[in-house]
Protein backbone atom coordinates (compact mmCIF):
# COMPACT_ATOMS: atom_id res chain seq x y z
CA UNK A 1 0.00 0.00 0.00
CA UNK A 2 2.91 2.33 0.80
CA UNK A 3 6.45 1.79 -0.45
CA UNK A 4 8.84 4.64 0.25
CA UNK A 5 12.56 4.61 -0.48
CA UNK A 6 14.99 7.20 0.86
CA UNK A 7 12.20 9.76 1.06
CA UNK A 8 13.66 13.09 2.17
CA UNK A 9 12.63 16.68 2.53
CA UNK A 10 14.70 19.71 3.35
CA UNK A 11 13.45 23.23 3.98
CA UNK A 12 15.22 26.55 3.78
CA UNK A 13 14.51 28.42 6.99
CA UNK A 14 16.09 31.87 7.13
CA UNK A 15 18.88 30.82 4.82
CA UNK A 16 19.58 27.65 6.74
CA UNK A 17 19.01 24.15 5.45
CA UNK A 18 16.75 22.16 7.73
CA UNK A 19 16.49 18.43 7.09
CA UNK A 20 12.94 17.70 8.20
CA UNK A 21 12.91 14.13 6.88
CA UNK A 22 16.22 12.34 6.26
CA UNK A 23 15.65 9.52 3.80
CA UNK A 24 13.07 7.16 5.27
CA UNK A 25 12.26 3.66 3.96
CA UNK A 26 8.78 2.45 4.65
CA UNK A 27 6.55 -0.43 3.60
CA UNK A 28 2.95 -0.70 4.70
CA UNK A 29 0.80 -3.64 3.61
CA UNK A 30 -2.96 -3.48 2.95
CA UNK A 31 -5.09 -3.62 6.09
CA UNK A 32 -2.40 -2.47 8.52
CA UNK A 33 -2.96 0.11 11.24
CA UNK A 34 0.26 2.04 11.60
CA UNK A 35 1.05 4.87 13.99
CA UNK A 36 3.85 7.31 13.32
CA UNK A 37 4.97 8.35 16.79
CA UNK A 38 7.46 11.03 17.65
CA UNK A 39 8.00 14.34 19.40
CA UNK A 40 7.02 17.65 17.85
CA UNK A 41 9.20 18.51 14.91
CA UNK A 42 10.32 14.92 14.37
CA UNK A 43 9.14 15.00 10.76
CA UNK A 44 5.86 13.13 11.16
CA UNK A 45 3.64 15.63 9.41
CA UNK A 46 6.23 16.35 6.74
CA UNK A 47 6.41 12.64 5.93
CA UNK A 48 2.64 12.43 5.82
CA UNK A 49 2.42 15.43 3.52
CA UNK A 50 4.85 13.85 1.12
CA UNK A 51 2.93 10.56 1.13
CA UNK A 52 -0.33 12.42 0.43
CA UNK A 53 1.20 14.51 -2.41
CA UNK A 54 0.71 17.77 -0.51
CA UNK A 55 4.44 18.36 -0.42
CA UNK A 56 6.94 17.30 -3.09
CA UNK A 57 9.88 15.30 -1.72
CA UNK A 58 13.34 16.79 -2.10
CA UNK A 59 14.63 13.34 -2.99
CA UNK A 60 13.62 9.71 -2.84
CA UNK A 61 10.52 7.96 -4.11
CA UNK A 62 7.20 6.82 -2.73
CA UNK A 63 4.55 4.57 -4.23
CA UNK A 64 1.25 5.16 -2.49
CA UNK A 65 -1.80 3.06 -3.41
CA UNK A 66 0.14 1.88 -6.45
CA UNK A 67 1.15 5.28 -7.83
CA UNK A 68 4.14 7.55 -7.62
CA UNK A 69 3.57 10.61 -5.44
CA UNK A 70 5.80 12.85 -7.54
CA UNK A 71 4.60 11.99 -11.03
CA UNK A 72 1.09 10.66 -10.50
CA UNK A 73 -0.23 12.95 -7.79
CA UNK A 74 -3.79 13.04 -9.08
CA UNK A 75 -4.00 9.23 -9.20
CA UNK A 76 -2.69 8.94 -5.67
CA UNK A 77 -5.16 11.55 -4.43
CA UNK A 78 -8.06 9.71 -6.06
CA UNK A 79 -7.21 6.56 -4.09
CA UNK A 80 -6.37 7.88 -0.65
CA UNK A 81 -8.20 9.81 2.03
CA UNK A 82 -6.50 12.51 4.07
CA UNK A 83 -7.64 13.99 7.34
CA UNK A 84 -5.36 16.84 8.29
CA UNK A 85 -4.62 18.50 11.61
CA UNK A 86 -6.87 21.49 11.01
CA UNK A 87 -10.57 21.61 10.22
CA UNK A 88 -11.36 20.50 6.73
CA UNK A 89 -14.75 22.16 6.66
CA UNK A 90 -15.17 25.83 5.83
CA UNK A 91 -16.29 28.13 8.61
CA UNK A 92 -19.47 29.30 6.85
CA UNK A 93 -20.22 26.06 5.07
CA UNK A 94 -22.94 23.62 6.08
CA UNK A 95 -21.76 20.09 6.84
CA UNK A 96 -24.12 18.65 4.25
CA UNK A 97 -22.86 21.03 1.55
CA UNK A 98 -19.25 20.25 2.35
CA UNK A 99 -19.90 16.52 2.11
CA UNK A 100 -21.64 17.01 -1.23
CA UNK A 101 -18.70 19.05 -2.56
CA UNK A 102 -16.27 16.42 -1.34
CA UNK A 103 -18.22 13.60 -3.03
CA UNK A 104 -18.30 15.54 -6.29
CA UNK A 105 -14.58 16.30 -6.02
CA UNK A 106 -13.88 12.57 -5.93
CA UNK A 107 -16.00 12.07 -9.02
CA UNK A 108 -19.25 10.72 -7.54
CA UNK A 109 -22.35 11.51 -9.58
CA UNK A 110 -24.95 13.82 -8.07
CA UNK A 111 -27.25 10.93 -7.08
CA UNK A 112 -24.37 8.94 -5.61
CA UNK A 113 -23.22 12.05 -3.75
CA UNK A 114 -26.64 12.57 -2.16
CA UNK A 115 -26.78 8.93 -1.10
CA UNK A 116 -23.23 8.84 0.27
CA UNK A 117 -23.69 12.14 2.13
CA UNK A 118 -26.78 10.76 3.86
CA UNK A 119 -24.99 7.53 4.68
CA UNK A 120 -21.99 9.28 6.23
CA UNK A 121 -24.09 11.73 8.22
CA UNK A 122 -25.98 8.81 9.74
CA UNK A 123 -22.80 6.86 10.40
CA UNK A 124 -21.02 9.72 12.17
CA UNK A 125 -24.04 11.16 14.02
CA UNK A 126 -24.03 14.34 11.98
CA UNK A 127 -27.68 14.33 10.93
CA UNK A 128 -28.84 16.86 13.50
CA UNK A 129 -25.95 19.17 12.52
CA UNK A 130 -26.40 18.96 8.75
CA UNK A 131 -27.59 22.53 8.34
CA UNK A 132 -25.53 24.36 10.96
CA UNK A 133 -22.52 26.34 9.73
CA UNK A 134 -19.41 24.26 10.44
CA UNK A 135 -17.90 27.14 12.40
CA UNK A 136 -20.59 26.75 15.07
CA UNK A 137 -19.89 23.06 15.74
CA UNK A 138 -17.94 21.84 18.77
CA UNK A 139 -14.43 20.45 18.39
CA UNK A 140 -15.61 16.86 18.55
CA UNK A 141 -18.45 17.44 16.09
CA UNK A 142 -16.15 19.16 13.65
CA UNK A 143 -13.67 16.30 13.90
CA UNK A 144 -16.42 13.81 13.06
CA UNK A 145 -17.22 15.90 10.01
CA UNK A 146 -13.54 15.79 9.03
CA UNK A 147 -13.58 12.01 9.30
CA UNK A 148 -16.68 11.88 7.10
CA UNK A 149 -15.00 14.19 4.56
CA UNK A 150 -11.96 11.93 4.47
CA UNK A 151 -13.90 8.82 3.57
CA UNK A 152 -16.56 9.92 1.09
CA UNK A 153 -14.92 7.82 -1.64
CA UNK A 154 -14.26 4.78 0.58
CA UNK A 155 -10.48 5.04 0.24
CA UNK A 156 -8.43 1.88 0.61
CA UNK A 157 -5.86 3.93 2.50
CA UNK A 158 -6.65 6.69 4.97
CA UNK A 159 -4.09 9.11 6.40
CA UNK A 160 -4.83 10.90 9.66
CA UNK A 161 -2.56 13.66 10.94
CA UNK A 162 -2.84 13.98 14.73
CA UNK A 163 -6.53 13.02 14.62
CA UNK A 164 -7.26 13.41 18.31
CA UNK A 165 -5.24 16.51 19.15
CA UNK A 166 -7.31 19.01 21.10
CA UNK A 167 -10.13 16.61 21.92
CA UNK A 168 -11.16 15.73 25.46
CA UNK A 169 -10.79 12.08 26.53
CA UNK A 170 -14.43 11.27 25.86
CA UNK A 171 -14.31 12.69 22.34
CA UNK A 172 -11.04 10.92 21.71
CA UNK A 173 -12.65 7.63 22.66
CA UNK A 174 -15.62 8.33 20.37
CA UNK A 175 -13.33 9.26 17.53
CA UNK A 176 -11.49 6.00 17.86
CA UNK A 177 -14.73 4.07 17.92
CA UNK A 178 -15.57 5.57 14.54
CA UNK A 179 -12.13 4.98 13.10
CA UNK A 180 -11.99 1.37 14.25
CA UNK A 181 -15.49 0.66 13.01
CA UNK A 182 -14.56 2.01 9.61
CA UNK A 183 -11.62 -0.33 9.57
CA UNK A 184 -13.68 -3.35 10.63
CA UNK A 185 -16.34 -2.66 8.04
CA UNK A 186 -14.21 -1.81 5.04
CA UNK A 187 -10.71 -3.10 5.77
CA UNK A 188 -9.21 0.34 5.26
CA UNK A 189 -5.47 0.66 5.75
CA UNK A 190 -4.88 3.35 8.38
CA UNK A 191 -1.77 5.43 8.71
CA UNK A 192 -1.75 8.07 11.42
CA UNK A 193 0.61 10.36 13.23
CA UNK A 194 0.30 11.00 16.91
CA UNK A 195 2.28 12.32 19.80
CA UNK A 196 -0.05 10.68 22.31
CA UNK A 197 1.84 7.68 23.65
CA UNK A 198 -1.16 5.89 25.08
CA UNK A 199 -3.00 6.27 21.82
CA UNK A 200 -0.25 4.69 19.76
CA UNK A 201 0.11 1.99 22.38
CA UNK A 202 -3.54 1.07 22.64
CA UNK A 203 -4.70 1.48 19.04
CA UNK A 204 -1.91 0.80 16.60
CA UNK A 205 -0.80 -2.68 15.65
CA UNK A 206 2.45 -1.31 14.40
CA UNK A 207 4.32 1.64 15.84
CA UNK A 208 6.97 3.49 13.90
CA UNK A 209 9.02 5.81 16.09
CA UNK A 210 10.45 8.85 14.34
CA UNK A 211 13.04 11.18 15.74
CA UNK A 212 14.88 14.02 14.02
CA UNK A 213 13.61 13.06 10.60
CA UNK A 214 14.56 9.39 10.76
CA UNK A 215 12.83 6.14 11.70
CA UNK A 216 14.44 4.82 14.87
CA UNK A 217 12.19 1.82 15.54
CA UNK A 218 9.42 -0.08 13.79
CA UNK A 219 7.53 -2.96 15.41
CA UNK A 220 4.46 -3.82 17.46
CA UNK A 221 4.21 -1.80 20.66
CA UNK A 222 4.65 -4.99 22.68
CA UNK A 223 7.83 -6.05 20.93
CA UNK A 224 9.26 -2.57 21.18
CA UNK A 225 8.64 -2.46 24.88
CA UNK A 226 9.95 -5.98 25.49
CA UNK A 227 13.07 -5.58 23.38
CA UNK A 228 14.02 -2.00 23.96
CA UNK A 229 12.85 -1.09 27.41
CA UNK A 230 12.08 -4.12 29.55
CA UNK A 231 10.15 -4.03 32.82
CA UNK A 232 11.34 -1.85 35.65
CA UNK A 233 11.72 -3.47 39.08
CA UNK A 234 12.11 -0.98 41.91
CA UNK A 235 13.18 -2.15 45.39
CA UNK A 236 13.87 -0.35 48.63
CA UNK A 237 16.22 -1.85 51.16
CA UNK A 238 17.12 -1.16 54.79
CA UNK A 239 20.40 0.64 54.06
CA UNK A 240 22.86 1.51 51.29
CA UNK A 241 25.02 -1.59 51.93
CA UNK A 242 22.03 -3.82 51.35
CA UNK A 243 21.19 -1.80 48.26
CA UNK A 244 24.71 -2.34 46.89
CA UNK A 245 24.44 -6.09 47.49
CA UNK A 246 21.02 -6.18 45.84
CA UNK A 247 22.30 -4.41 42.72
CA UNK A 248 25.26 -6.79 42.48
CA UNK A 249 22.98 -9.81 42.71
CA UNK A 250 20.66 -8.40 40.05
CA UNK A 251 23.43 -7.77 37.57
CA UNK A 252 24.43 -11.45 37.74
CA UNK A 253 20.92 -12.58 36.74
CA UNK A 254 20.65 -13.48 33.01
CA UNK A 255 17.46 -11.58 32.09
CA UNK A 256 18.55 -8.35 33.77
CA UNK A 257 19.92 -5.68 31.47
CA UNK A 258 20.69 -2.92 33.93
CA UNK A 259 20.79 -2.37 37.70
CA UNK A 260 21.32 1.02 39.34
CA UNK A 261 21.54 2.14 42.96
CA UNK A 262 20.15 5.42 44.25
CA UNK A 263 20.53 5.60 48.05
CA UNK A 264 18.50 2.73 49.43
CA UNK A 265 16.61 2.29 46.17
CA UNK A 266 17.60 -0.18 43.47
CA UNK A 267 16.22 -0.01 39.93
CA UNK A 268 16.49 -3.10 37.78
CA UNK A 269 15.62 -3.42 34.09
CA UNK A 270 14.62 -6.94 33.11
CA UNK A 271 12.65 -8.70 30.44
CA UNK A 272 9.52 -10.25 31.94
CA UNK A 273 9.94 -8.66 35.32
CA UNK A 274 7.04 -10.50 36.95
CA UNK A 275 8.95 -13.75 36.54
CA UNK A 276 12.26 -12.28 37.60
CA UNK A 277 10.97 -10.69 40.80
CA UNK A 278 10.16 -13.83 42.94
CA UNK A 279 13.49 -15.38 42.06
CA UNK A 280 15.26 -12.12 42.82
CA UNK A 281 13.57 -11.74 46.20
CA UNK A 282 14.56 -15.30 47.20
CA UNK A 283 18.17 -14.57 46.23
CA UNK A 284 18.10 -11.41 48.37
CA UNK A 285 16.74 -13.33 51.39
CA UNK A 286 19.57 -15.90 51.15
CA UNK A 287 22.12 -13.08 50.93
CA UNK A 288 20.68 -11.43 54.08
CA UNK A 289 19.73 -8.25 52.20
CA UNK A 290 15.95 -8.57 52.26
CA UNK A 291 13.81 -6.10 50.31
CA UNK A 292 11.43 -3.85 52.27
CA UNK A 293 9.24 -2.94 49.26
CA UNK A 294 9.09 -4.24 45.71
CA UNK A 295 7.35 -3.02 42.58
CA UNK A 296 7.26 -4.08 38.94
CA UNK A 297 6.26 -1.58 36.30
CA UNK A 298 5.67 -2.57 32.69
CA UNK A 299 7.28 -0.11 30.29
CA UNK A 300 5.50 2.52 28.21
CA UNK A 301 6.42 3.70 24.75
CA UNK A 302 8.01 6.66 26.52
CA UNK A 303 10.51 4.23 28.05
CA UNK A 304 11.12 2.86 24.56
CA UNK A 305 11.73 6.35 23.26
CA UNK A 306 14.05 7.08 26.15
CA UNK A 307 15.99 3.88 25.51
CA UNK A 308 16.30 4.75 21.83
CA UNK A 309 17.14 8.42 22.00
CA UNK A 310 18.16 9.15 25.57
CA UNK A 311 15.36 11.73 25.74
CA UNK A 312 11.79 11.66 26.95
CA UNK A 313 8.80 12.01 24.69
CA UNK A 314 6.59 14.25 26.71
CA UNK A 315 2.90 13.70 26.34
CA UNK A 316 0.38 16.44 25.72
CA UNK A 317 2.60 18.88 23.85
CA UNK A 318 1.13 21.23 21.29
CA UNK A 319 0.91 19.69 17.82
CA UNK A 320 3.88 20.29 15.56
CA UNK A 321 3.77 22.88 12.83
Amino acid sequence: MIHARQLARTFQVKGERVEAVRGIDLDVEPGELVAFLGPNGAGKSTSLRMLTTLLPPTSGTALVAGHDVTHEGARVRQRIGYIGQGSGSGEYMLPRDELMTQCRAYGLSRTEAVRRTGELMAMLDLESLATRPAGTLSGGQRRRLDIALGMVHRPALLFLDEPSTGLDPQNRAHLWEHILRLRRESGTTLFLTTHYLDEADAMAERVIIVDRGAIVADDTAENLKAQLAGDLITLTLADTDHAGTAAAIASRMPSVSEATVDGTTVRVRATWGVAVLPEYLRALDTSAAPALTAEVRTPTLDDVFLALTGRRLRDGDAPEE
Partner: protein, 251 residues
Protein backbone atom coordinates in the same frame (compact mmCIF):
# COMPACT_ATOMS: atom_id res chain seq x y z
CA UNK B 1 -12.93 14.83 -15.09
CA UNK B 2 -11.71 18.04 -16.60
CA UNK B 3 -10.86 21.53 -15.52
CA UNK B 4 -14.31 22.87 -16.35
CA UNK B 5 -16.25 20.40 -14.21
CA UNK B 6 -13.76 20.81 -11.37
CA UNK B 7 -14.12 24.58 -11.58
CA UNK B 8 -17.89 24.07 -11.48
CA UNK B 9 -17.63 22.01 -8.28
CA UNK B 10 -15.53 24.67 -6.56
CA UNK B 11 -17.77 27.46 -7.89
CA UNK B 12 -20.90 25.77 -6.51
CA UNK B 13 -19.19 25.25 -3.15
CA UNK B 14 -18.22 28.92 -2.95
CA UNK B 15 -21.63 30.17 -4.07
CA UNK B 16 -23.72 28.15 -1.62
CA UNK B 17 -23.31 30.29 1.54
CA UNK B 18 -24.20 33.42 -0.43
CA UNK B 19 -27.25 31.81 -1.99
CA UNK B 20 -28.42 30.61 1.39
CA UNK B 21 -28.02 34.07 2.86
CA UNK B 22 -28.56 36.63 0.07
CA UNK B 23 -28.64 39.51 2.52
CA UNK B 24 -24.92 38.98 3.09
CA UNK B 25 -24.43 40.21 -0.48
CA UNK B 26 -25.62 43.66 0.57
CA UNK B 27 -23.38 43.75 3.65
CA UNK B 28 -20.36 42.86 1.54
CA UNK B 29 -20.91 45.99 -0.56
CA UNK B 30 -20.89 48.26 2.47
CA UNK B 31 -18.14 50.67 1.35
CA UNK B 32 -19.54 51.46 -2.12
CA UNK B 33 -23.01 51.85 -0.61
CA UNK B 34 -21.74 54.27 1.99
CA UNK B 35 -20.13 56.39 -0.72
CA UNK B 36 -23.24 56.19 -2.83
CA UNK B 37 -25.56 57.29 -0.04
CA UNK B 38 -23.37 59.68 1.98
CA UNK B 39 -21.10 61.11 -0.70
CA UNK B 40 -23.25 61.01 -3.84
CA UNK B 41 -25.79 63.63 -2.66
CA UNK B 42 -22.91 65.96 -1.84
CA UNK B 43 -21.62 65.69 -5.39
CA UNK B 44 -25.07 66.55 -6.69
CA UNK B 45 -24.80 70.07 -5.27
CA UNK B 46 -21.24 70.60 -6.52
CA UNK B 47 -20.76 72.47 -9.79
CA UNK B 48 -19.84 70.68 -13.02
CA UNK B 49 -18.70 67.10 -12.49
CA UNK B 50 -19.09 66.18 -16.13
CA UNK B 51 -22.05 66.50 -18.42
CA UNK B 52 -25.59 65.64 -17.46
CA UNK B 53 -26.69 64.47 -14.06
CA UNK B 54 -24.33 63.77 -11.18
CA UNK B 55 -25.57 60.20 -10.90
CA UNK B 56 -24.77 59.59 -14.54
CA UNK B 57 -21.20 60.52 -13.69
CA UNK B 58 -20.95 59.00 -10.22
CA UNK B 59 -22.66 55.57 -10.50
CA UNK B 60 -20.29 54.04 -13.09
CA UNK B 61 -17.38 54.95 -10.82
CA UNK B 62 -19.08 53.38 -7.82
CA UNK B 63 -19.52 50.20 -9.84
CA UNK B 64 -15.77 50.15 -10.48
CA UNK B 65 -15.16 50.80 -6.79
CA UNK B 66 -17.36 47.84 -6.02
CA UNK B 67 -15.19 45.58 -8.15
CA UNK B 68 -12.04 46.98 -6.58
CA UNK B 69 -13.20 46.34 -3.03
CA UNK B 70 -14.89 43.01 -3.76
CA UNK B 71 -12.24 41.39 -5.92
CA UNK B 72 -9.25 42.63 -3.93
CA UNK B 73 -10.80 41.09 -0.82
CA UNK B 74 -11.17 37.68 -2.48
CA UNK B 75 -7.98 36.55 -0.82
CA UNK B 76 -9.45 37.09 2.61
CA UNK B 77 -11.52 33.89 2.51
CA UNK B 78 -8.62 32.00 0.98
CA UNK B 79 -6.45 33.16 3.85
CA UNK B 80 -9.01 31.96 6.40
CA UNK B 81 -9.35 28.59 4.71
CA UNK B 82 -5.61 28.19 4.30
CA UNK B 83 -4.89 28.80 7.97
CA UNK B 84 -7.79 26.64 9.16
CA UNK B 85 -6.80 23.59 7.12
CA UNK B 86 -9.71 23.70 4.69
CA UNK B 87 -7.51 24.48 1.71
CA UNK B 88 -5.34 21.52 2.60
CA UNK B 89 -8.38 19.25 2.55
CA UNK B 90 -9.30 20.48 -0.93
CA UNK B 91 -5.71 20.14 -2.14
CA UNK B 92 -5.72 16.50 -1.01
CA UNK B 93 -8.69 15.70 -3.28
CA UNK B 94 -8.30 15.01 -7.00
CA UNK B 95 -9.56 18.54 -7.77
CA UNK B 96 -7.28 20.34 -10.23
CA UNK B 97 -5.25 23.05 -8.50
CA UNK B 98 -6.20 25.67 -11.06
CA UNK B 99 -9.89 24.77 -10.62
CA UNK B 100 -9.66 25.67 -6.93
CA UNK B 101 -8.52 29.15 -8.00
CA UNK B 102 -10.86 29.50 -10.98
CA UNK B 103 -13.93 28.45 -9.02
CA UNK B 104 -13.22 31.01 -6.34
CA UNK B 105 -12.54 33.77 -8.82
CA UNK B 106 -15.75 32.82 -10.63
CA UNK B 107 -17.70 33.31 -7.43
CA UNK B 108 -16.16 36.75 -6.93
CA UNK B 109 -17.14 37.80 -10.44
CA UNK B 110 -20.68 36.44 -10.10
CA UNK B 111 -21.10 38.28 -6.80
CA UNK B 112 -19.69 41.43 -8.34
CA UNK B 113 -22.11 41.38 -11.26
CA UNK B 114 -25.12 40.88 -9.02
CA UNK B 115 -23.99 43.73 -6.76
CA UNK B 116 -23.37 46.03 -9.74
CA UNK B 117 -26.86 45.28 -11.04
CA UNK B 118 -28.30 46.06 -7.62
CA UNK B 119 -26.57 49.44 -7.60
CA UNK B 120 -27.75 50.26 -11.10
CA UNK B 121 -31.31 49.27 -10.23
CA UNK B 122 -31.22 51.21 -6.96
CA UNK B 123 -30.10 54.42 -8.67
CA UNK B 124 -32.63 54.29 -11.53
CA UNK B 125 -35.30 56.12 -9.48
CA UNK B 126 -32.97 59.03 -8.63
CA UNK B 127 -32.16 59.75 -12.25
CA UNK B 128 -29.45 57.33 -13.35
CA UNK B 129 -30.15 56.49 -16.98
CA UNK B 130 -27.85 53.72 -18.27
CA UNK B 131 -27.61 52.87 -21.93
CA UNK B 132 -28.62 49.14 -22.05
CA UNK B 133 -25.98 47.87 -24.50
CA UNK B 134 -23.32 50.13 -23.02
CA UNK B 135 -24.14 48.91 -19.52
CA UNK B 136 -23.85 45.31 -20.70
CA UNK B 137 -20.43 45.91 -22.24
CA UNK B 138 -19.47 47.85 -19.09
CA UNK B 139 -20.38 44.93 -16.85
CA UNK B 140 -18.48 42.54 -19.10
CA UNK B 141 -15.42 44.73 -18.84
CA UNK B 142 -15.82 44.78 -15.08
CA UNK B 143 -16.07 40.99 -14.99
CA UNK B 144 -12.81 40.59 -16.94
CA UNK B 145 -11.08 43.03 -14.59
CA UNK B 146 -12.58 41.21 -11.58
CA UNK B 147 -11.17 37.87 -12.76
CA UNK B 148 -7.68 39.36 -12.81
CA UNK B 149 -7.88 41.27 -9.56
CA UNK B 150 -9.59 38.36 -7.75
CA UNK B 151 -6.86 35.96 -8.87
CA UNK B 152 -4.15 38.37 -7.80
CA UNK B 153 -5.75 38.79 -4.39
CA UNK B 154 -6.04 35.02 -3.92
CA UNK B 155 -2.42 34.55 -5.01
CA UNK B 156 -1.28 37.21 -2.57
CA UNK B 157 -3.23 35.48 0.21
CA UNK B 158 -1.59 32.15 -0.62
CA UNK B 159 1.85 33.68 -0.71
CA UNK B 160 1.24 35.46 2.61
CA UNK B 161 -0.59 32.60 4.34
CA UNK B 162 1.94 32.55 7.16
CA UNK B 163 1.70 36.28 7.81
CA UNK B 164 -1.95 37.29 7.30
CA UNK B 165 -1.32 40.82 8.53
CA UNK B 166 0.99 41.42 5.56
CA UNK B 167 -1.87 40.48 3.25
CA UNK B 168 -4.18 43.01 4.88
CA UNK B 169 -1.42 45.60 4.88
CA UNK B 170 -0.75 45.26 1.16
CA UNK B 171 -4.43 45.05 0.24
CA UNK B 172 -5.47 48.06 2.32
CA UNK B 173 -2.33 49.96 1.42
CA UNK B 174 -3.09 49.72 -2.30
CA UNK B 175 -6.84 50.06 -2.10
CA UNK B 176 -7.30 53.71 -1.18
CA UNK B 177 -4.48 55.23 -3.27
CA UNK B 178 -5.77 53.33 -6.30
CA UNK B 179 -9.30 54.45 -5.54
CA UNK B 180 -8.50 58.12 -5.02
CA UNK B 181 -6.18 58.22 -8.04
CA UNK B 182 -8.80 56.74 -10.33
CA UNK B 183 -11.16 59.72 -10.25
CA UNK B 184 -14.05 57.70 -8.89
CA UNK B 185 -14.97 60.27 -6.27
CA UNK B 186 -13.98 63.58 -7.90
CA UNK B 187 -12.95 64.39 -11.46
CA UNK B 188 -9.20 64.28 -12.05
CA UNK B 189 -9.57 67.19 -14.49
CA UNK B 190 -9.35 69.52 -11.49
CA UNK B 191 -6.25 67.84 -10.08
CA UNK B 192 -2.83 69.56 -9.98
CA UNK B 193 -0.53 68.40 -12.75
CA UNK B 194 1.48 65.90 -10.71
CA UNK B 195 -1.66 64.26 -9.37
CA UNK B 196 -3.21 64.14 -12.80
CA UNK B 197 -0.07 62.53 -14.20
CA UNK B 198 -0.04 59.98 -11.38
CA UNK B 199 -3.62 59.07 -12.15
CA UNK B 200 -2.68 58.29 -15.76
CA UNK B 201 -0.46 55.49 -14.42
CA UNK B 202 -3.37 53.95 -12.57
CA UNK B 203 -5.02 51.22 -14.65
CA UNK B 204 -8.23 51.87 -12.78
CA UNK B 205 -8.48 55.39 -14.24
CA UNK B 206 -9.07 53.99 -17.73
CA UNK B 207 -11.65 51.59 -16.41
CA UNK B 208 -13.54 54.39 -14.68
CA UNK B 209 -13.49 56.58 -17.78
CA UNK B 210 -14.63 53.72 -19.97
CA UNK B 211 -17.47 52.77 -17.62
CA UNK B 212 -18.71 56.37 -17.68
CA UNK B 213 -18.62 56.41 -21.48
CA UNK B 214 -20.26 53.00 -21.77
CA UNK B 215 -23.10 53.67 -19.32
CA UNK B 216 -23.75 56.89 -21.28
CA UNK B 217 -23.97 54.84 -24.50
CA UNK B 218 -20.73 56.11 -26.06
CA UNK B 219 -19.38 52.72 -27.10
CA UNK B 220 -16.84 54.16 -29.49
CA UNK B 221 -15.13 56.37 -26.88
CA UNK B 222 -11.32 55.88 -27.03
CA UNK B 223 -11.15 55.05 -23.31
CA UNK B 224 -13.16 51.87 -23.96
CA UNK B 225 -10.33 50.37 -25.97
CA UNK B 226 -7.76 51.32 -23.33
CA UNK B 227 -9.93 49.93 -20.56
CA UNK B 228 -10.48 46.69 -22.47
CA UNK B 229 -6.74 46.31 -22.93
CA UNK B 230 -6.13 47.08 -19.26
CA UNK B 231 -8.80 44.64 -18.07
CA UNK B 232 -7.52 41.85 -20.32
CA UNK B 233 -3.94 42.52 -19.23
CA UNK B 234 -4.90 42.39 -15.54
CA UNK B 235 -6.86 39.19 -16.18
CA UNK B 236 -4.02 37.49 -18.06
CA UNK B 237 -1.42 38.47 -15.46
CA UNK B 238 -3.77 37.56 -12.60
CA UNK B 239 -4.61 34.14 -13.96
CA UNK B 240 -1.01 33.36 -14.84
CA UNK B 241 0.26 34.34 -11.39
CA UNK B 242 -2.69 32.60 -9.75
CA UNK B 243 -2.29 29.33 -11.63
CA UNK B 244 1.40 29.29 -10.83
CA UNK B 245 0.83 29.99 -7.14
CA UNK B 246 -1.84 27.31 -6.89
CA UNK B 247 0.26 24.67 -8.60
CA UNK B 248 3.06 25.36 -6.15
CA UNK B 249 0.72 25.54 -3.16
CA UNK B 250 2.16 22.93 -0.90
CA UNK B 251 1.11 23.19 2.66
Amino acid sequence: MNLVSHTGIVFVREMRPGLRNPLGLVFQMAEPLVFLVLFGPLLAVMPSVGDGSTWQWFVPGIVVMLSLFGASGAGYLMLTEASAGTLERLLATPLRRTAILAGRTGKEVATLLVQALLIVLATLPVGFDPHPLGALVGLLLLAVFGVGLGSLSISLALAMRDQPSTFYGIQQGLLFPLLLLSGVLLPMDFAPDWLHTASRFNPLTYLVEAERALFAGDLAHPSVLWAALTAVAVAVVGLAVGARTMRRASC
